[in-house]
Every structure is written in C-alpha cells, then in structure tokens.
C-alpha cells in the first residue's frame, strides 16, 4: 500500500524539515493552488474527495467548509481556521505522530484549507503536554515564515495568512471544537450551544473552521493528486487512508497508516501482532475511550465509519483499546468514567453531577459494595446521561458508550461483582 500521510515518517521518527519535506514533493499542492487554483476549485476537490473528519465524528470535511459564508454574505472581518491538535482521547496517539514527524504536512494542509475558506488567521491549538510536537511545529513555522510560505503575500499569490501555535492549558473538553474556541478566546473551556455553529459564529464571533490534525494533513495530497485518486485509496465506502492504532495487551502496540476499510482482524492480528501470550481478546473499543465496546464477533468488520456505526459503536479516532480476558471490564469502565467525570467542564447537570454518580456506583461494584439495584441505577444513568440532546455537548454521551456496551456484553461480570461481593479479577 502507498503511504500517504506517513510517507515522510521513518522508523526512527525523526522530524522532516522544510528541505526534506519539499524534496519529497512537499508544498507541491500549495504551489499548484497559489499558481492559479481558486478557493472554489479547492472546495470542489475536497467535497468530491469524500474526505471525512478524522477527529472522531467523521463529518464530511467539504460540507463543513461549505457552511462558511462567503465574503458577500457576512459582515466584513476576519475568518479563522483552527487546527484541533488537542489530542486527549484515551488511547489515541495518531496526531502526535503526524505533528512530531512531519510538521510541514500539517502546515501545508492548513494553508490550503485556510485559503479555501478565505481565512486570514489560523491557529494550531495543541495539547500542552505535546512538548516535542510544539517544539517541532514552532521550528517549522519559523521556516515557513522565513521562506514566504506564511505571512503576507504567500508565494507572491496575494494571499496572506498568519499562523499561531497555541499550547493548551490542558482539559479533555478542549477537544470539543466550541470549547476549544472558548479556550482560545481566554474563556472557560465550556462548549457553546449550537446553533449557531462555528462556521458562522466561531472564534471571536467570526466564521471559523475547526479541523483535526489528521484531516488537515490529508488536504495537500488531495489537492495535489485529485479527488479520484483519493477515493481509490479506501478499500470500502470511505475514501483515503487512516492512521489506525492499537493499545492494550497485544504483541506490537502501535500506530499504522492503512487504507480506510481495513478489517479489524487485520489491524489487530497482523499489524498489532495479535494478543500477547496467555491473553485472550475479550473486547475492544474501536476508536478511543468514548466509543462502544465491540467483541470478537466484530473482528471481520471493516474500519469504515458506517460499518462500525451499524455494529453499534463508532470508529472515533480509529485507535483501538483492547480488553483482554484477564482485565476486569468493570474496572476498565470505572477507570474511563473516572476520567470523563474529572474532565467534565461542569457546565450541564447530567455530565457534571451524573458522571460522578456513575463513577460512585461503579466504584462500589468494583470494591465489592455493589447491590443488585445498582445495575438498574446504571441503566437509568445511561438513559439519563447517554442520549445526545440530554446534555450540552457530546462528552457525557461519549462517556456512557463504554459503560452501556460493557453492560451489554459483559453483564455477567457485573453480576458477579455483586454476587461475590468482590472483583473476580483480583
């Protein structure tokens, strides 16, 4: 398979500087555009390419961009492109790889995206702990400014763009695009109510597009090589390649660029090397901590947004967390809920006060204090907290996903915690 996003990433994971990036075809897409492609042309290519957001929701990127009002349809002023590099989804480490090893790919993608939507200012909102990525992006930005790829009149095209790197103060919720925008404005990182969507009223009340790192990294290649080429990369219905990852008790945990639609079994057994000796696969979260468990019966499914969705989970970030047969599913869910309860921004009631309530019930179960009615309470909480629309944003419904599927697939484990008055795995 042809490597696209990771073509400059070697085993040594050394960063690609401007020279090396350009030597390998870098900034070709940008030069092509600056030499005469209009924003409308770019928009058409991206829309045609069927690229879907790689941050987890899988929303079609072209459609997202198309909601940005053109200059004649909004009051005069700035438009913004924001790169969501606040990678904090449990088990997810794909964006870090892209930023640490090939920062120029992201920058080129951002320049092209900003040009398409008519943005004149762009931000990389990056997770504060990603110190190495921050350093390498900072160096890359310097190189770009020095060589006229950023700033006024980029490559003599008349188009100007400034790009700022903003390391986050660090909350999981900053990955939610409107909370990210609030944080960028220096406000509490609470998500905003939608509508209005950021495309019309985002950063500082202006039209704003927030895209994930991996999504933006795809842009130069699509622009350079066309939508049709991009569509051929996927094995199934989704286009392009994707960074898939596996963590947990497998022989070779890691992150690989594979075609969209690669079967789960191939990812786990071939690329991750299968389970470690002495461990059996019991289940897995297909796309990070806030997706529903799938089990061995789902191993032959293709990693496509709709396929995984139909199986009752979400592809999310495409980075799987493996649950093995010697790890307590209740304990694993407790660990996740504890994280989500702590990362709630505290804005809406079901999330702020509901998640700690779930945490407390799970903790009672795990520590042997569970009561038979606790399972009913958990189901009640899933209904209360888990439905989109009950809460202000998707954090709490996401948090309920592993819980509700664990109850579905590992119900006996829960019951055993209650009947034996202790965690059977300890």
């Amino acid at each position: 398979m042809e490597k696209v996003l990771t073509r400059n990433i070697g085993v040594d994971q050394k960063p690609t500087d401007l020279k090396a990036y350009e030597a390998n075809g870098g900034y070709q897409g940008l030069r092509k555009v600056m030499a005469g492609m209009s924003p409308q042309d770019c928009q058409a290519v991206i829309s045609d390419s069927n690229l879907r957001g790689r941050g987890g929701a899988g929303f079609p990127t072209g459609m997202k961009w198309s909601f940005v009002p053109s200059d004649d349809k909004c009051t005069p002023g700035h438009k913004y492109l924001v790169c969501n590099a606040d990678e904090m989804e449990p088990g997810t480490f794909k964006d870090r790889l892209l930023m640490e090893c090939d920062p120029h790919q992201l920058i080129e993608g951002m320049i092209l995206s900003a040009y398409t939507i008519g943005a004149d200012i762009s931000y990389i909102f990056i997770r504060g702990e990603y110190l190495l990525a921050i350093q390498r992006l900072r160096d890359a930005l310097k190189e770009c400014y020095a060589s006229g790829l950023l700033g006024d009149n980029i490559l003599g095209s008349g188009y100007s763009l400034n790009m700022y790197l903003h390391p986050s103060a660090g909350r999981y919720i900053c990955g939610e695009e409107t909370a990210l925008i609030n944080a960028l404005e220096g406000k509490r990182a609470n998500p905003r109510a939608k509508p209005p969507f950021p495309q019309v009223s985002g950063l500082w009340g202006r039209p704003t597009i927030v895209n994930n790192v991996e999504t933006l990294c795809n842009i130069p290649h699509i622009i350079d090589r066309g939508a049709d080429w991009f569509k051929t990369l996927g094995l199934g219905e989704d286009a392009g390649t994707k960074l898939f990852g596996v963590s947990g008790r497998v022989k070779n945990p890691g992150c690989w660029e594979l075609p969209m639609g690669t079967p789960i079994r191939e990812i786990i057994e071939q690329h991750a090397g299968g389970m470690r000796d002495g461990y059996q696969l019991k289940g897995f979260l297909p796309g990070g901590g806030s997706t529903d468990f799938l089990t061995t019966e789902h191993l032959d499914l293709a990693m496509d947004y709709n396929v995984i969705g139909a199986a009752g989970s979400r592809m999310g970030t495409g980075t799987m967390i493996i649950l093995d047969d010697r790890t307590c599913p209740v304990g694993m869910v407790l660990n996740l809920i504890r994280f989500f309860a702590h990362e709630s921004c505290g804005f809406c009631t079901p999330c702020r006060d509901g998640l700690p309530w779930s945490r407390q019930v799970l903790q009672d179960l795990e520590e042997g204090r569970g009561q038979p009615e606790d399972l009913e309470t958990l189901s009640y909480q899933i209904k209360y907290i888990g439905a989109i629309g009950n809460t202000h944003c998707a954090l709490a419904p996401g948090a309920m996903e592993p819980l509700q599927s664990a109850l579905k697939y590992f119900y006996d484990d829960f019951k055993q915690h209650i009947s034996s008055g202790r965690c059977p795995y300890h």
Binding site: T75, R188, R192, S201, W204, G346, D353, E373
Partner: protein, 920 residues
Amino acid sequence: MPTIFIDGQELQVNDGENILEACLNAGLDLPYFCWHPAMGSIGSCRQCALVQYQNEDDTRGRIIMGCMTPVTEGARFSLKAENATEFREAVVESLMLNHPHDCPVCAEGGECHLQDMTVMVGHRDRRYSGKKNTHRNQYLGPLIHHEMNRCITCYRCERYYKDYAGGTDLGAQASHDHLYFGRHEEGVLESEFSGNLVEVCPTGVFTDKPFLKQYSRKWDLQSAPSICNGCAVGCNIAPGERYGKLKRVHNRYNHEVNGYFLCDRGRFGSGYVNSDARLDYAGIKQADGSYMAVHQQQALETAASWMQGKKVAGIGSPRASVEANYLLRELVGAEHFAAGFSEAEAPLMASVRRILQTTQAMIPSIKQIEAADAVLVLGEDITHTAPRVALALRQSVRNKSFELAEQMGLPQWQDAAVRNLAQDQRSPLIIVSAMETRLDDIASQCISLAPDQIAEFAVSIVEALAGEPSSNKQANQIAEILQSAKNPLIISGTSMVHWGIVNAAVAIAESLCTEPSGCMLSLCIPEANSLGVALLADKSSPSLPDLVNSPPEVLLVVENDLQRRLNPQQMEQLMSAGTLVISMDMLENATLGASDMVLPAASYAESQGSLVNMEGRAQRYFPVFEPAAERLPSWQWLLKLAALTNHKSLSKIEHFDQVVAACAKSQAEFTNLVDAAPDQSFRDRGLKIPRQTHRYSGRTAMNAGVNVHEPQQPHDHESPLAFSMEGLNRDQPAALTPYVWSPGWNSNQSLQKFQAEVDGPLKGGTAGVKLLQSSASGATQKASCEAVEMQAHHWQLVPVHQVHGSDELSVNTDEIAEMAGMGFVSLGAAVAHKLGVSEGDGVVLASGGTEVSLEVRILQRVAKNCIGFGLGYAETLYLRAGSLATLAVDAQWQRPQPQLIASDKATPDPIVAEGGSAHV
C-alpha cells in the same frame, strides 16, 4: 403568532420566544434553574426538558431543552411524557448529590426555587450513597453571605454579576463537580448591585447578610408595596417586617422602572428604620438645652399656640412625600413655603422642572433607556447618582449585539451565543465627566473635563448638530454618532451642581429632536422626591437664604436636615433665638438638635405617601407596619396641626386620600396623583389586600412574652391594605402587590405567575403614573454660568457621589456606613505622585475657610485641575462643588485598618502625567 401543541393542547404563542417562555405564559409549570427572564438562556441546568415530536405520527420524540428551543409553527411537545418527567427528576436527583439539605438552617428555606423545583419534579429518595463535596465559604463583605455547599451550579450568579451588572470580581472557578462561584480570594464584593445575587441565586448560596442577623422566614414577614427613597429613580421595593423591625427589602417588579433588580443602597440601606437614633416621642426644648418628652397632643397644642397669629414659614424636603410637602405648603402658604433645596440646588431643580415640562425630547423610563442605541452622558457618574439607570445603560450598549444577532436570525434570549457573536462590540456610550466613572469599562469614549468645560464641550456638540462643525473634532464626531443613531439618549443631571451642563445637555437633546429619530433625555436629580417638591414650589416660594435673611417667627421643618443645605453661619442665624423652630424627622440630626420642638416622624416603612421620580412618575408607598411609640407620618402631624390651628381648607381633611385629592386639585401637575395607586376604598373580592402571607405564623402568640393578652390587629383606615392574612394577593392592581407567592412557587420566581407574560408588565398593570406632560415647545434656554476662575496652586472641587455614603438616610445603616468608609478626596495618579501620597494616605484639604483631613483615593482618569471629594460624609459637609481648594500631605494621618485585599487595589501609576499637576 405560531401555534404549537403541548400534550395535545393547542397554544397560540409569541413569535420568537422559546418553549420555556411559551409554557410559562400558558400557565404550565415547567421547572427551570439557569434561565432568567432578564438574562435569557444558556442551557446549562437541563431542567426545562420536554419531549419534541417530529409530527403527529411520531410517538417517541426526543428530549429538548425548553429554554433553548424556539417556537415554530405546528411544533409538538410533551411536558408529561414519561421520558421527560423522568429526565427532569434525574436532573434534580443529581443536583442533590452534593446539596447539603440544610433547609432548616438555610435563609433561603421557604422561598427557595430549588425546594420548589424539587417538589415539582417529584424527586424524593436519593440513590447516591457517596460523600458530598464540600467547599470553603468566602467573606464577601457586610452585605452578602456565602454558603457554597448549597450551590447547584446554575451559573446565574456569574452571569448576573459579570455579564449583566459588569462586575469583575466574582465568577466561576475550577471545573467538573468542583465548580466554585466566588472571588479569587476573600473580600468585599465590588459591584454596587451585588445584592441582586440574593434574588438571582435559586438557592441559598448568596443570602442577605443583614437579614441573617435578624432572620425571619418569608412567610412570617409582613410586607407592603413600597418605593425606595434612596435616590430619584424610584425603584419599587417590597420591604418585610416582623416584631416591629424592618427585616429586609426585596425587589418589587415594575416593568417600566426597576424590573428585577435593585442597587445595594436600595436593598440594604433601610437599616436606619430600626436605628436606636430614631426619635420616639415629641420633645420640647428646655432652657438648659435638654428636651422634655411630651405627649403627641400636648406637643401639637403647644405648636398650635406658638403658630397662632405669628408669621410662620415652612421648609419642605426632597425626601418627604408629596403629601407632606403639600400639606406644609398649604399650612404656611406658598409664599412662606421653601422647598428645602440648598441655594445651589434650588435654581437647578426649578430648571429641571421647567425642562421636563417643555422639552420636545422624550423622558424615558428605565425600560426605554435599555433600548437606546447611542448614549451621551454629561457630567454624571450614573452608577452613583441614579444606580439603576446605570444598570440599564449596561444593557443598552448590548443593542449592537442584538442587531448583529438579528442579522443572523439569532434570538435575543440565546444569551451566550449573542455574547459570543458580538464579543466586545457595543453600541456607543460616550461619557464626558470630570472623573472616571463606573461605566468607563463599557464606554466607547471617555472624555475628562472640568465641569465648566463639559458645558462648553456640550455646546460644541450642539453647534455641530446644527451643522456648524466646531473646531472641536471630538464634538463633531459625537454629533455624528448621535445623528446616525436610531434611538439616541442624552443623560445629564444635577450632580455637578452645574447649570451649564444641564442646559447644554438639553440643547443637544432638543437639537436631535429635529432629526427623525427624536431623542430621549434623562436628567438625574438628587433625591427621591426632589421633583415632587420642585413642582410644589412656585415663584413666590422663598429660598433657604431668603429665610435665613428674614427669619420667620415660627419655622416648621419637615424631614430636612438643614445642615446639609446651609453653611454653619446660615444655620446658626436661621435657628437663632428669635425663631421658634418645630422640626419633624426620624433620626437625630443637627436640625433637630437646634429646634425648639421635635416631632418624631414615621419612616417610609411606617407611612404612606407619593414620590415623584426623575422621569416625573408618581409612585405610592404604603406602610409596612404601624409606627412605634408616638411616631406619626409627617402628613398626619401636619394635618393635626392644621386642625388645631383651624386652617381654612385643611381642617376639613381627615384622611390620606383627601390629601391626595386636594393636592391633585390644587395644581394641574398633580392631577394624575390620584391614579398613582387605588384609594382606601379598593377591595378585591370584598377584601383588602393582605400584608401577611396566608402562612403567617404566631400572630396570636408572638407578643406573649410581653403580654399574654392577644392584641388586636391594627386597622389601616388609610390604605387598601390590611394588617392581616385574610384576603387575596392575586391579580390586583400592580401598585398593591405586597409580595409574590403562588401555589408551588414559594420563591421570588413566582413573579412569573403575576406577570401578564414572561418579562412583561404585571397582570395588574404597571404601578405609578406619569405626572408631567411636556408641552413640547422646546426647552432650550440661555446658559448663563459663571465659569470657575482657577488660581495658581488651587484645585477645583468636584463632588464625588457614592452609592454607599452620599445618601443622607441609608448611611445610618451599619452595613452601608461600613461600605462608605470615611470622607475622602479623589486624586489623579499624577497628582498623588507629585504630592507623594498613595491610596489610603491622608491629605489636608483647605477650601473656603474649611480645613479637613481626608483619605486619599486614587483615580486613573481625572480632568485637569480637578480633585474630587466624597459627598455626604461628615468631613466633607461644608465643601462645595466648584470652589477652590489647596492640598497638603497630612503628617498626622494614621492609615485606617489595613486593606483586606491589597491585590485588589490598583497601585497608582508612577508615571507623572500631564493632567493637573501644575499647581501642586
């Protein structure tokens, strides 16, 4: 009007409102927390959930938030669907995870929105068995008590304090279920409107601290509709009494005046009613200077005998009711009736009266002020001279954001979204003042000028409006802004005691009236009834100096401490042995101390009367409780005196309503006074309006510790209210609403049951009546002001008004006195630097033969050659606006208590600026 369906019921709803509002308007009980009619929706509490169905066939529907969902034609909802009721109950159950259930010891208990909503959703047993989170409370000053454990994180306090009232020192901190609403560290809340937190908080996190010290449950309070007498805005209040003490003041909704909010002077400044310095008995001065207490009748007879056949003059008061002032005028005759203004104030008030009666500009209510899209403020620090108006201006600057929102189809109630959209874009607010004001933070332009120059500058604006651009570019630019506005507003007032400023402000407004937009004009005046008494005074009325120069044989002073109006020599001359002075007032003061006879007057809380506010609106206040001891309302003292002196017309009058009727007849301006409130004969379904709640407890027992015989309830022969639990408090005329309560709604949120629709006027209309009809003949008059001539090494004194400290009565409340601090001088940072003083140091200020030591307060924005002095403090009593002063460091000065929060005080900028430093 769209039609929506709620549980099959067809409802006609208002276009543009949300489902929560639609439900409340339809009388449906949909619980809510974070939504507030004045602050809109943010969707944080998730309490107002309903189920929305796609169409008639959809039986599942999905949960939506009522406050975040606009009404749309044909939309179908259910309040009663099981998933909605279960969800609402779950919300309360999770709010209860950390709520301490300390209702029995909580000051909110019995009027707690959280209690009401908990009962409403049917939540009873909590399943959570974990530990509750606890917080440390903060000291927030003498007015507000903090109890964070009770918090349910609705964000209302932060949104009110920061977004609505412009405060900067209280907000949300931390996250997840550790959210904390407070200051960054302990300290006195800075906002002049902090008291509204008490009513905004749906539970007991922020409670009324002075009330806590003498607490009673809401249901045990006896309340009456009343009017704040703290300033000329005339906010409607609902004071509550028990055991003969005024316990607290709550907001009383008036759609056009104060809406939902009061300032802290209004809410907390009534403590003087319970003061030990209140006069209980009449007294006659003895030869040794002491007073002999005498019975009411004896005092009245003595006074009548003093007055018999003598030249009697009267001094009225801008803080006494229209009725008391009217009776005084009739008793002594208009030619002997002084309105009681100081020499400087009198012509200003006469001028304001004339302006209001002739101007073409619209005199706006507060509701109308909120609609202004460009505001020019001349000379006033509104936050301190008419506080509630300042709060309205904070809303008016948001009109820009509403305009932007409208372009996007975003409803105004989408509060967070509208604020995010507009960010710091605001409608223009231009402030021209001598010193920084509390609205500087939202002003588009602040210009610092000495009072004379403010007037001059305003004249330049008039010229620019007339098409003769002046050399002053700023003035031209402001003229353009005002001309391009759709709804401009000019605000000025008497606080600088400067005729020229007021006149020039009027000239600007008049000039804008020739534009299609027209113009609003709002003039801030000094006291609660300044306009009422100004209307009573006519050309023949003497001024105070007139009376000083030719003293009468007998002088009747009604509720006026002349020390605040006269200099010491004048005071002595007026009170000299040649004149018999009879004074009636509430609190001991210099005038009472110099009078030959003192009569104890009832406070506003024990009497009834009308006040005319700055817009010419007459509003009636009613006694909350019977006056103790031998106190009487001033109007009753005067009526009794009239009877004893066989006054021609007044001796036929017995009752309050007759006084109102006579006053209305006496003068065209007062014709509508009778409509300020229903008269004594009003009955609702045969009964008077009860002052007590129907749960009022202990009526037969609460005096048992004094006397086991149950006293008869007092009868109120003068008003349509009864000292009783019997009767209905529902749908009566707005002026007769003593408190709000509705079944299932024990908190102040029950107000919505009294409103005709959410955020609209009350079902019983809007209390009060406008007295003045302008002839619209134009109010421009020649400004003839003598400019202050500066001298080397001198400063011009500018009065600095303070919410806490400048008002005569409220400062007799302990908490307000604490907030007021001591007399101060306000200096620019550069001047302070040159003098070598910093915040809290002392200087000696000498002016007009007076020399006082004052605390230094440092301002960032001060006009050249100007210094400010805190108005209303004992130390600054004899300092006069516009006079010249010198400054020297006070070597003897001892700094008062260390500042509680040093970091809160801005350190003065050490850079020597240009302004005003020349004469040090």
